[in-house]
Structure formats: structure tokens, C-alpha cells
Amino acid sequence: MDYLLTEEQQMLRDLARQITNERIKPIRAELDEEETFPWDIMNDLAQADLCGTVIPEEYGGLGLGCLENVLVLEALAMGCVGVATTYAASFLGAYPLLLYGSEDQKQKYLPPIAKGEALAAFALTEAQAGSDAGAIQATAVKDGDFYVLNGAKQWITNAGEAEIYTVIAVTDRVKGARGASALVLEKSDPGVSFGKKEKKMGIRASTTREMILEEARIPRDRLISKEGMGFIVTMKTLDNARPGAGALAVGLAQEALDEAAAFAKERHQFGVPIIHFQAVQHLLADMATKVEAARALVYAVARYIDTRPKDYTKVAAMSKLFPTDMAMQVTVDAVQVMGGHGYMREYPVEKMMRDAKILQIYEGTNQIMRNIIGLALNKEYSKKK
């Protein structure tokens, strides 16, 4: 399909594909087995200028939009969703600064992220606050020119590897959801430490750790926007990131389809390649159709976001929901097409199936995506009367 990409967009996508083919695919199985953090590949991405796609040029980035971001993410996810998650999580950490940071904060933190000298991370989730983000307990208490943070953030992607953290903490418990604030923390800040690396089902090249805050004392100017803006910053950050999660799903599913289709042409049973069986063809046909539908949705939403509409929460949720459910199905079916071979670690699809699952969970579960879309519909249709 031709999505009418500009020459520049194609160049960007091809560059990301080159990194996938030359740097990620040859070692993805090893990264998965050994659960190693992909520093070398992060350096390649930095060298390629891809760490700053959505960061404005005045802060050392490329100043590109959501569509370019999803093109790169899709291409990287064809290599490894663990690697692509590491890369994407850095933008998740950067978006709060990009969208709400002061000029000084942008000057200080965005250039190292754009140049790939520092990774970023976004820390919202806690043990008692998953889908229910409003239940966070971590606190940031003002003390003269400082904030003092206490609490523990759970399952934070890039924690311990990243230099820059956006942390959501309660500054005023009485105000409920309006009492949370976003703050920037640095890895080297006093009182910041990290838990052990979690052992995961998939995306094992991505690192997930607890971030522990014990009397973490940071200057007051680390507050992003104003006190009480924590959840607005969070929602806007996630609205921008969700087409990215959809793009990871599209890349992953495309790769699973490619593997399964190529296998089906090679594998002979009953004297013919198995792709000759209608049952196999139909599986592949459904997979291919779903991948294309998901891609079209992700690109359309990304293009829409690039027109800077006022509210895109609903479509952003759709661009995560459909592709990530699709990728789960398609990777399961890819294993099915390949039979026992698909189940073996010698082939890449079992990893893809394990990797797909996280996409339905992080950045808001797909149940929560349906809640968001449902809520928006309820609002829209009450207006229309």
C-alpha cells in the first residue's frame, strides 16, 4: 500500500529499517535470551539522529511530527519490540517536558535526549496504582526552594538506565486528582535509587525496574508546569504516545506475517507447500488484512494529531487499542501457521507472540482504552441531542 509518504518520510523509515536489519535482527534472539539492555543499538539510533525525531530543532532534534515518529517505531518493532520499547519510553519521558516544560527545562533536558546522550523515562505507576492512576501515593512536599519526594514507582521502563525521569507525585492530597504534579528527576539526585530488574514474559531487551524515592530533594524549578497539573500532563503525554504503541503493534505483526508467509511457502506437507491449503491461506489473509487496517488507522490518527487538533484522546486510544489487539491475534496465528516450528525458539515468532502481550497492557490496558473511547462517545452523543 502506498500511504503517500513524502521522500523525507520514506528516507526516515528506510534508515530505521536499516538499523533493524543490520543491527537489531542479527542479535534480537540473544538480547531476548540474555535479557541485555541494548546500549549498542541505542548508540546506533543516536548516531542516526533518531533519538530526537519529535524534539524541535532548536533543542537538537529533527522537529518532526507524530507520523514520522510512528514510521520509525513501526520499522524498529519489525526488529524487536523490546528494543523499540526502550526507544519509545524515552519519548514518553520527554513528552511532559516537550509539552509543558519551561524554556529553561527544555534547554537543559531536551538536547541530551535528542542527541541520544541521555535516555528518559516516565514514572507514574505504583504498586496500588495501575489503571487507577489517581490512587498514587508518592508525595512531593515543598520545602523552601526544594521539593522532597517519597514513594516507590513500579515497573518503570528504562529505570536505572535513564538519566532523566518525569515523575508524577501528589503535592496536595486534599485536592484528589487535581493534587498531583509532574516533576523532573535526575538519576543522580539524592534519595533516588532503583530496584532489581524485573523478569518478564517478553520485551526482555527492555529494562523494567522500581524507582525508589527516599527523601529525594530536588530544586523547586524541577516542577513541570504548575502544581496540580500532574494528570493533565500525564493524559496529554499518553495521548501523544499511544499511536506509537499502535505503531509498535503494526511493525511486530507485519514481521510475524512475513515470517509465517515465507515459512508457509517453504514448508511441504502432503506433497505441497502448506500455503496451498486454503485453511492456511485464510489465516494469512486475515492476518494481512488486519495488519493493513491497523496501519491505516495508526497513520491516519498520527496525521490527524499532526494537524494539532484540540482534543484527540479518543482517536489516540483507538490507535492503541485496535492495533495492539490485532498484534496479539496475528502473532498467535503466525505461530499456528508455523506449527511446531513456530513454537521453537530457533524461529522468531514465539518471541513475537510473547512480546505482543505487553502492548495490550502498558500505556493503559486495552480495557482502559475502551473506557476512554466509551466515555468520549457518551459525551459526544449527549452533545448531539
Partner: protein, 262 residues
């Protein structure tokens, strides 16, 4: 400020190249072209030298007009400039005519302190153009370099890869170095450099620009002609022995006697 030139070549991607039955040169139509893989290591090494010592890296290639693609692609890795040598009269050149043409272009560029090439091109596999170019320019060369170290501003220590181990040699600039893949790990292209490369003006020099007569270059200027292409017979089993010379000599004598008997 070192003047560094990297000679690169556009080659067909496929492994099973077809030959023109008449000229015995490579048929390129319909086959995707890539930068000769070894040349990417040459480009990388040039960039590393530039980053360490300061300088300017210029790419040079002789080829058909579409070889410009290879130059633009290579510029995406970060070199500063590129020149394409292209003329109908250059077509069908053997290694000598190629080296002669490249040499003239390098003179026109004002010479170079360091010239890099890949150890060989994967289409012709001759490994001759680099050394011939050095001979034409009357400068020393080290082929098959796997490591470079500057000992002072214009002296290089080079590890030259051999079948077993390596030779350590020293060379004074200006010099030509052909590199093997062991020398480095090429970086990824940069998007900003790629954008710049897209717009970079690339001069195209032909016969007249280089002051040649038609009979000096291309097929007409070639001393050699390919009459037949065949894979060389496989090399026999080889062994490496190490130890004091007298012991090795005795062992060799023993082995030769055994071989003579059977």
C-alpha cells in the same frame, strides 16, 4: 587538516553476477546496486581519522551516471564532499585504466594525504585498483589494513592482515590504505547527513575535465581484457607449524619424505 579521499565503487548486489558474453564485463541491468561492502569500512576509517586528526573527507568514484546514488548514500555516513567520474569514454576500463582515471582526478583535487579504498570490490574481486592507484600517484600503500595508529602527524603504524596473524608496518603520508572488514564497525548513516546529501551538488568530471585522450581511458586504454571467467581451484589443505627453525626444518624434511613415498 588532513586531505582524505575515499575511493568507492557501486557494485551489483547479487552474488551470481552475469557476464556480458562479448566483452566479458559485468552485466548490470536489472540488478540492484549497492556500495561495495568493503568500501563502507574505508569510509568509516576515513571518518575516524578525520574525527581524531581533523581534516576533510572526499568521496570519489568512477562509474555510470547512476553511480551518483552510491555517492549520495555514502555521504549519508558523514563525508564532506563527493566527485563522480563519468564519461562514455571511461566505460569498459580495466583496473589500470580505472586507477589512471582516479589518479588524475585526485591530482585535480590537489592530491591527498591519505587515500582509502576497500581491499577489493565484490564484483571483479581483483584487489588491484588501490595498489595501482598508489603506484600511479607514486606514493606508498598498505593493503589489507586491519588497524591504523598515528605515531605522529604524518606517520602511520598499520597492521596488515595476513592469512595467519598480521604484519606491523609503518608508512609515511601521503599514503594509500586498503582496508579489510576487521578494521572497524561502520556507523549507521545519520538522518541529517542524508538530508544534506540529497541536496549536495556532486561535480561530474569527464574525459575533458581530466585532460585525457579517448584512447587513454576506458576499454581503449585498458591493457588487459577478460577472456574467460572461472572460479579458481580450491586451495589444498594447509597447516601452520610454529617453533624453532631447526626443529621446523627437520619436521618439514620428514613430511616431504613421507609425501614423496606415497
Amino acid at each position: 587538516m588532513l586531505k582524505i579521499i575515499v575511493c568507492i565503487k557501486q557494485v551489483p548486489e547479487t552474488q551470481d553476477v552475469r557476464l556480458d558474453p562479448v566483452t566479458h564485463t559485468l552485466k548490470r541491468e536489472g540488478i540492484k546496486s549497492i556500495i561495495n561492502p568493503f568500501d563502507l569500512y574505508a569510509v568509516e576509517e576515513a571518518l575516524r581519522v578525520k574525527e581524531a586528526q581533523g581534516g576533510k573527507v572526499t568521496l570519489l568514484t568512477m562509474g555510470p551516471p547512476q553511480a551518483e546514488e552510491a555517492l549520495r548514500e555514502a555521504l549519508g555516513y558523514g563525508p564532506d564532499a563527493a566527485v563522480l567520474l563519468s564519461d562514455r569514454a571511461f566505460a569498459g576500463a580495466d583496473t589500470w585504466a580505472t586507477a589512471l582515471t582516479l589518479g588524475r582526478a585526485i591530482e585535480k583535487l590537489g592530491g591527498a594525504d591519505l587515500i582509502f579504498t576497500g581491499k577489493q570490490a565484490i564484483d571483479g574481486d581483483t584487489a588491484q585498483v588501490g595498489p595501482m592507484l598508489a603506484a600511479i600517484l607514486n606514493i606508498p600503500f598498505v593493503a589489507w589494513a586491519r588497524k591504523l595508529t598515528f605515531t605522529d602527524n604524518n606517520r602511520l603504524q598499520v597492521e596488515r592482515m595476513m592469512d595467519h596473524g598480521y604484519d606491523a608496518v609503518e608508512v609515511e603520508l601521503p599514503a594509500l590504505i586498503t582496508v579489510v572488514k576487521e578494521i572497524n564497525e561502520p556507523r549507521m548513516p545519520s538522518f541529517k547527513a542524508k538530508l544534506k546529501a540529497k541536496k549536495e551538488p556532486i561535480p561530474v568530471w569527464g574525459l575533458n575535465d581530466l585532460g585525457f585522450q579517448p584512447e587513454q581511458v576506458g576499454l581503449a586504454g585498458s591493457f588487459t581484457q577478460v577472456v574467460k571467467v572461472f572460479p579458481p581451484p580450491a586451495r589444498g589443505q594447509s597447516e601452520t607449524w610454529e617453533g624453532p627453525a631447526p626443529e621446523l626444518a627437520a619436521r618439514l624434511w620428514q613430511r616431504l619424505k613421507e609425501m614423496g613415498r606415497s
